[in-house]
Amino acid sequence: MSGRGQLVGGLMFLFATAAAPLLPDWIVSLATVALANALVVLGLVVLWRAGLVSFGQAIYYCIGAYAVALTARWTGFRDAFALVVIGGVAAGLVAALIGFLLARYREIFFAMLSLALSMILYGVLVKTESLGSTDGFSVATPTFLGFAPHRDTLGLSLYWLTLGVDAVCAVLISAYYRSVAGALAAPIRDNEIRVEFLGVSVASVVHAKVVISGVLGGLGGALAALTIGHVDPNMSYWTTSGSFVFVTILAGASSVAAAFVGSLAYEAVRSFAFDLMPQLWQMTLGSVLLLTILFLPNGLGSLVSRVKRREEAKS
């Protein structure tokens, strides 16, 4: 991210922080879920830049969510900050483990293998009656470093927490993009042989990308579980993964901010489509995706780079 990119990102963050109390609750709640899901999308973007698409990213989302819900249920521990970290770490550990397998595959095999793994988790959760089978179970109301917000302010607290986690992740991921490992995304997509002969293990770089995307997925799932107040096996179902891929295509891989803007745009379109045309909302979403692919093949993020290019051409 350039210096100007960081400035714009910082201003967006301040605006989003300050504007929330003025907005109606339902918008804040929708935005919280959108900003939590944006982390999963950011994880998909990290993979996508290296030419990898995961059709099973919901597995990390689900693990993050269940890790939060189960910790609260079994130990009674309810601190939101710690729970979010637990969600991210749990998903990261699982990603580190299955990464040994995933890092050896590319293209459709990578996509289908991740899909299969997420469906295994779905199957296990559906069959586990002690965890509520298909119904799932509810998540205890969190506290914030000992402070238990009133019902009315809980939504706002979670929104700010989500925004804070998003900001930290955005800064870390843009630093990652500037590192050798981050910059190796396009080279790995282009030519793995050359990367190996430059002295880098492609498998370990891909493995690290899987873990990063897993942690981001887990953080997203943890925040979503706290916001929704409920977890169920659908969080690992393939349609959930599909919607994350949908948002990734909508957002594009050109910048870190695109994941957040794309996720908010998706949630907005989905909500309005559902409200205005309850029978046809999926068709509306489909049309939006089609138009995006036709006119913005590099996603919403490419609008920014287009403006930049036009400015450069002028100067």
């Binding site: 990652y176 500037r178 590192s179 050798v180 490992a181 981050g182 910059a183 190796l184 396009a186 080279p187 997509r189 282009d190 030519n191 042989i193 050359r194 190996e196 002969f197 430059l198 002295g199 880098v200 293990s201 370990s204 770089v205 690290a208």
Partner: protein
């Protein structure tokens, strides 16, 4: 002068096929060695074993008095042996400058398992190294061109440049002039070889064109049926009777007779 590369009794078999056998060669530092031989004679197998792409079935390989037999290619690259490829291996979606930058950054990254993550890709030192190597190989005017759009000769130079940007001590070039027109071959080799000389790199290059071998090599190894049948200065090796019969024979006869008629 002690040998920078020493290969002892090297053998490689694929099932019943013997691709390399009983190869013993020692290369002193800063020598430029040409490797000749017909297709299937074992030249590329030889190079692939030194760079860790293939694991030898028997024998040992020593680099700077350290045994490297059977080590993975990326370890061998870190020790200081680089290679270029018969078909240029570059990153087609990146520009020449970006290609060189990533190669330079990798070469200069810090060690440890997080080395790739903590090293920035555009450090001033790596960028300067990339710029210097682009200049050294005289491809500066293609700096901002996407690699997929480059002419063949520039692709080759970029490929060699990316192998050199990390300051290796030994470089293996697998047919640097393959796919290059005859008119361009000499210029390409001149640029590449003077660049390598200026960095004091020991070079092993596989080549089919005997004129290029004679012109650029200090020493020539002739391969036949998986082993070295002649080893000496270009004149010695090329005048070896076995080499003339098995490798360069037909070409030499015509090139010897023709001037007589003309």
């Amino acid at each position: 002068m002690s040998a920078i590369l020493a290969v002892r009794n090297l053998e490689k078999t694929f099932g019943s096929l013997v691709a390399a056998r009983d190869i013993t060669v020692s290369v002193p530092a800063e020598q430029t060695v040409g490797v000749i031989g017909a297709n299937g004679a074992g030249k590329t197998t030889f190079i692939n074993m030194i760079t860790g792409h293939l694991r030898p079935s028997k024998g040992s390989i020593w680099f700077e008095d350290k045994e490297i037999t059977g080590q993975p290619s990326r370890e061998i690259t870190r020790l200081g042996i680089s290679r270029s490829f018969q078909v240029a291996q570059i990153f087609p979606s990146l520009t020449v400058f970006e290609n060189m930058c990533i190669a330079a950054a990798i070469a200069r990254r810090s060690g440890g398992i997080f080395g790739n993550i903590v090293t920035p890709v555009h450090s001033p030192a790596a960028t300067a190294e990339a710029e210097a190597t682009i200049e050294l190989f005289q491809i500066g005017r293609y700096r901002e061109i996407t690699a997929s759009a480059l002419p063949q000769g520039v692709r080759k130079l970029l490929d060699i440049g990316m192998a050199v940007v990390g300051w290796p001590r030994l470089l293996l070039l697998d047919e640097p002039t393959s796919g290059i027109s005859i008119e361009e071959k000499f210029d390409l080799m001149k640029v590449a070889m003077s660049a390598l000389k200026s960095r004091k790199i020991t070079v092993l290059f596989v080549e089919h064109d005997m004129e290029i071998v004679t012109r650029f090599a200090d020493r020539v190894l002739a391969f036949y049926d998986g082993t070295v049948i002649a080893d000496g200065t270009p004149t010695q090796t090329l005048s070896n009777q076995q080499v003339q019969e098995l490798i360069s024979g037909v070409r030499l006869k015509t090139s010897v007779k023709k001037p007589g008629h003309a």
